[in-house]
């Protein structure tokens, strides 16, 4: 495993952890539930009006 490989790994992990921390800080961790508990018309292109 070279420097490029290790650097890419560290970068991806850092992006993931920072995104997770910020998601927690901005209260996004429960956001998915807002889609799963309503009629998501946005994804239903082709559904009759």
């Amino acid at each position: 495993m070279g420097y490029r490989f290790t650097s890419a790994r560290i970068l991806i992990i850092l992006i993931g952890i920072i995104a997770l921390i910020l998601a927690f800080y901005y209260g996004q961790l429960d956001y998915a539930k807002t889609y799963l508990t309503r009629f998501v018309r946005e994804e239903l292109a082709g559904y009759p009006a």
């Binding site: 996004q28 956001y31 799963l36 292109a45």
Partner: protein, 299 residues
Amino acid sequence: MSSEEIKKKRRSYKIMILRHITQLASFILIFGGLIGYAATSIILPIRTGVSNPYLTVADAWSVMELMLVAAMIPLVAISVITLGSILFGRTFCGWVCPFGFINDLVGYLGKRKRISPRYSEGLWKFALFIAGVLVFVDISIFYNELAGNSIKSYFGDFRDSPSTFLDPASTLFGLIFWYFYHDKWPTNFVDYFYLPAAFYWRMFFLILVIVGMLYTPRFYCKTLCPLGAVMGLGGRHAFLHLYLEKGLCEECKVCEYSCPMDVPILSFLDVGHIRHPQCIMCLNCVDACPKKAIKVVFR
């Protein structure tokens, strides 16, 4: 090598059976509303869309897109995709994803033709290109929404979720489900010609993908899935991956012939670590290898 020769050389089917049981259990739990489970806040790197009312977990790509189009930074989806891919590669594709399970099941009915492994990385790059275009469209909408200059009208019926233009999973689990649930199917033959235009395209694309699945295993996963392609980016550096022992390998190619994603496994003979962006960790090769030369490692 003929399928008969592969079957003779293949060591076992145990992991394959375990994987399909896991996929079935995941399918039941993911659509757990059917058995009384409530929706959770869990986001997984799978393809189901978010419009099915029985879903208990959300599709990371759909959440990412819906949040971008609503001018929000999808931090939670980004964290799931990056951490999921760097830790486990595309294991969710192989063991959890409901649409991947559908791919496997339909694939067993079909011809199961191999695509030459030398095209494997090219197909991944094509899927990555599609992912890039979709992300570009989403970010363009995001930016313009923030600037107060909505460009959504340019995308017609797909304005709120452009990815659904190329998303057979949300068509199958969302659109078709709701047509049945609300009894929207026309009763007269003539009325079939008056459905929204987007419906015809989405159904055509779904049928095209199903025909592709009948031709080659995991057709959608290896050629079109944007989430899988992005997970493959992290998967090239994943902790969980396969290792090929050069001393044990007799280069019989049973592993390559067993691989549904057409990964050129033997090209990793000198390197050892198999970190290919198309590898979904299905472990068909581990099962198949008569010399047990392929192992699962986490490092």
